[in-house]
């Protein structure tokens, strides 16, 4: 289990990876990935009982992670590679022909660490709930984690899954939302009535935890709170900033789905310390 100092180092490298991957691909989604980097780093390097050596898609005897908001692929790939699921050198192949790192994650080429295709929004929470029920049926005490977006939560299926997971008392399901208040067309508040997410999830019978998605102590404490086996599924709302860590990308939806230029990438690299060696 990594210390907060180590997590800080890893997340800096992951952010470098994200910007460099998307720049090399000349397309992709850097903003959301940068915003949820600290949470994903804490999840893979401290929280989850899942290791590359023993990983299988069935998740038997270990935790599972489901990415619901599939456009967060860059941070997912970087964290998996840095955790040892596949070679870091492969990160440069993102979105390229023949790559295992498809624009949105898939299981076709058997990239270790990936449980399901992600990309069509709103569907991952249902799959995570299904795995959580399977674990309950099998007496497997491990957990299932699921990352959703706040914009993604405008999809009705998210709330179908919300009802169903509560009905089946899936307290081994820990969902978390990248609550950055942004989506492609602008701030979520200006798009449709998704807020207040906290009240909505409480009304659906979930345990709701609100945490600072850029403070490792807050992140780790939130996950620990979510271990409570009280018969209720858990929703952690991580307050995050889209584009966090790169000044010209931070706090705006403008970088939801746009690649930086070579100059912009160079600028970003001056703001993010290289701690583990670039790919």
């Amino acid at each position: 289990m990594a210390t907060i100092e180590e997590l800080t180092k890893i997340s800096s490298q992951v952010r470098r990876d994200i910007v460099r991957m998307v720049t090399a691909a000349k397309s992709g989604h850097p903003g959301g990935s940068l915003g949820i980097t600290d949470v994903m780093t804490a999840l893979y390097f401290s929280e989850m009982n899942q290791a590359p050596e023993t990983w299988t898609r069935s998740a038997k005897g270990q935790d599972a992670f489901i990415l619901s908001a599939g456009h967060l692929a860059p941070v997912y790939y970087s964290v998996l590679a840095r955790a040892g699921y596949f070679p870091v050198s492969e990160l440069g192949s993102l979105r390229k022909f023949g790559s295992r790192l498809q624009g949105h994650p898939c299981v076709t080429d058997g990239l270790p660490g990936i449980f399901k295709p992600s990309g069509s929004l709103g569907q991952g929470l249902s799959v995570a709930a299904g795995i959580a029920l399977g674990k309950k049926m099998d007496g497997d005490g491990n957990r299932v984690y699921c990352l959703c977006g706040d914009g993604e939560s405008e999809e009705g299926q998210i709330w179908e899954a919300g009802m169903w997971a509560q009905h089946w008392q899936l307290d081994n399901l820990i969902a978390f939302t990248d609550w950055n208040g942004q989506q492609i067309d602008g701030p979520t508040k200006t798009i449709t009535g998704i807020e207040d997410l906290s009240e909505k999830w409480s009304a659906f019978g979930w345990d709701v935890i609100v945490a600072d998605g850029h403070d490792f102590q807050s992140i780790l404490d939130a996950f620990k709170l979510a271990h409570n086996a009280d018969g209720k599924p858990k929703m952690i709302l991580f307050k995050t900033e889209m584009g966090h860590g790169v000044d010209f990308m931070a706090g705006t939806h403008e970088w939801h789905g746009k690649a930086p230029s070579a100059e912009q990438c160079t600028n970003a690299m001056t703001q993010l310390e290289e701690t583990l060696g670039d790919f």
């Binding site: 569907q123 049926m137 299926q157 009802m163």
Partner: protein, 317 residues
Amino acid sequence: MKKYIDQGKVDTRSGFGEGLLLAGRRNSNVVAMTADLKGSLKMGAFAKEFPERFIQCGIAEANMVGAAAGLAITGKVPFIGSFAEFVTGRVYDQLRQEVAYGHTNVKIASSHAGITLGEDGATHQTMEDIALMRALPGMAVVVPCDYNQTKNATIAAAEYNGPVYLRFGRPSVPNFTGADEPFEIGKIYKLNEGKDVTIAACGHLVWEALAAAEMLEAEGISAEVLNVATIKPLDGETLMESVAKTGCIVVAEEHNMAGGLGEAVAGVLAANRPAPMVFVNGADRFGQSGTPAELMKAYGLDAAHLAEAAKKAIAKK
């Protein structure tokens, strides 16, 4: 011609219910899921014997598909049951992403397919489901012909490694195949040898095809009858062998012309052994309320229409 005896009219969905129960006894990983249609899907016996493996999902089909994919990831063999329209068209993207592209071992139990759902009308009468499911890479599409075959196909689907679309219906139809005849996904069953025309059908139209062959026999025409119980993967070998002998073919289905069995057969024959074809199907239109028998006649799917179509095919040779 070979005689087939109707052992008594019964709905194919009940064959699914029986097959599900038997599959559940054979494999403790089989789980049954439904979106508030346990009774309509005849899942009651399974739910009674295996309450811990019966998973009610409520009227939320999209979540049901995703949850089934999740359960399949953990090693379960989920059967998800609803009306054909609501377990295909309504959840096409979920099936595409989580089941087909996601390579999960989910079985889609699709009841009340086609116009013979009857009185409920066109909102519930899907005639497009085969097209949707055929278009998904890796999806097996199975349309058994009667109660016994639906039961045996359900057992086969549980044993098959990969997603299966299993289509059956609401009305009571003749039950004429063997009670314990093993079912093989991917095989065309030849029910009658003939030399003048091939009639290929799926679902309960296979019985109509047999009845049409009898009518034709009375007029001195010898019809070969193929039960195309699996539309994908299609048994092209049996199909081409038959057409090589008869020289023409009628393809019958309770489905839209677009993307159905007819086009699947046409694709194989056009590429390998072109032959005159006549298509019997619901054309390109929606259904309407009525009794199954009224609708079969109005949409031209009964034995009399099939016999006429056979003569047209022969005339095109």
